[in-house]
Subunit: 272 residues, 2 copies
Amino acid sequence: MDRLSLNQRTTERWTVAEAVDGCVRAGLQWIGLWREPVQACGVAEAARLVAEAGLRVSSLCRGGFLTASAAGARAAALDDNRRAIDEAGTLGADCLVLVVGGLPAGSRDLTGARARVADGVAALVPYAEAAGVRLALEPMHPLYCADRGVLSTLDQALEMAAPFAPSSVGVVVDTFHVWWDPVVEAAIARAAGRIASFQVCDWITPFPADALLSRGMMGDGHIDFRHLRRLVEAAGYDGPIEVEIFNADVWAADPDEVVALMRKRYEEHVLD
Amino acid sequence: MDRLSLNQRTTERWTVAEAVDGCVRAGLQWIGLWREPVQACGVAEAARLVAEAGLRVSSLCRGGFLTASAAGARAAALDDNRRAIDEAGTLGADCLVLVVGGLPAGSRDLTGARARVADGVAALVPYAEAAGVRLALEPMHPLYCADRGVLSTLDQALEMAAPFAPSSVGVVVDTFHVWWDPVVEAAIARAAGRIASFQVCDWITPFPADALLSRGMMGDGHIDFRHLRRLVEAAGYDGPIEVEIFNADVWAADPDEVVALMRKRYEEHVLD
């Protein structure tokens, strides 16, 4: 239970201060933060709240969106990522999650978009290293390839991370994004030393009407969490296990009850 | 244009007789059929209509659904597949498409489900060979892994097909299902000799509310069709190019207009 982390989007209506309090009430030691609520709180104030509560920040979501081809949009994206790196540094986050972005409007050049992501990561690494922040490439479910993340498999993320030190560029293993992958076992083994974040939530059916809110509480869907947890542990990962759920029903529920249910399901479905 | 095939689900309201007439009116030479409307027409009658119209059957959809673990359900699935093979033989279809099935209700054992698919295919091959029918394993978009098809990548389909002669077990390359794959170029090259069917339709955004009706007309979405067509041709495939679109708006339109638009978009987006 000392590894369980609440990603604050799971309790979407909570501010940073409320989420910190909620974690303390639930006896958690970790929290995953998002930039927008952190900025609403103030980055320094968020860092103070987290530290005074005795929590640690498992991840900051999110940088990335590096697929733009126009020079101005590209420069703006890199600037925004540098700000995200600064914020992650201030918060002492274990990593800054990068959601790499989808195809630019009107483009069908997937290879080109992927190449621009690789270039963008390379451009950010020196800044991240100077700030002591680890970047975490998040392969996303192929469902989101067109409009959110052209990084579609763990193998692809590892290949993109390979030119850099594992302490500088890691990968996110999110069960929702990788569970279907026929070669996930080998990919997680290859990820040894690169796993910067392990996130859990379930794949539910029937598929919800809003594709962005299709994540379920552990146990409500089809994913074998123990199997994937054992694989990341066999690859040497012993860090926080973060629960990140985008789901209209979860968001409508009382956040304290969501956290209680998350604890229960984590024990039942993720731990041995 | 002599390679273009209308998969009859694209004009969902048409019976076999109407779809055959529609293909003739549009100057097409190929049609892809589905078992339910073929059975409604009568298999022998459907074969007669197609032959008298001078059409050829690019594929019969579909067999498969081989993931059940209960002995009775498994035997029933194999029986149904043998009937589908008989029907494909009567129709002279280029192949019988296999949609392999999702996880059984309540199961989270993806590895086990995939193993049962491999066993089921092995059990069907002698029957298919005797009937002169080529089985075509269809890797499906990972979106459908839980509830429709645990075969998620072209590489995985090729591995499953490998024990059998390419003339007995091929694979389907459906742009909708494979376009996102970071290793699709290498996988299609490896598929040389195994490509039993090439299907085209687009990936559209925002993702429609019904995940099963999320396919779009070529040109309405994000897929680079020419790139994928050139890859399958470089791998030696010169057979029909089938348009299979499940989409509420397409189904609501006049079928003749859908076929006309399909021809136009095929010229604009698939051909050179």
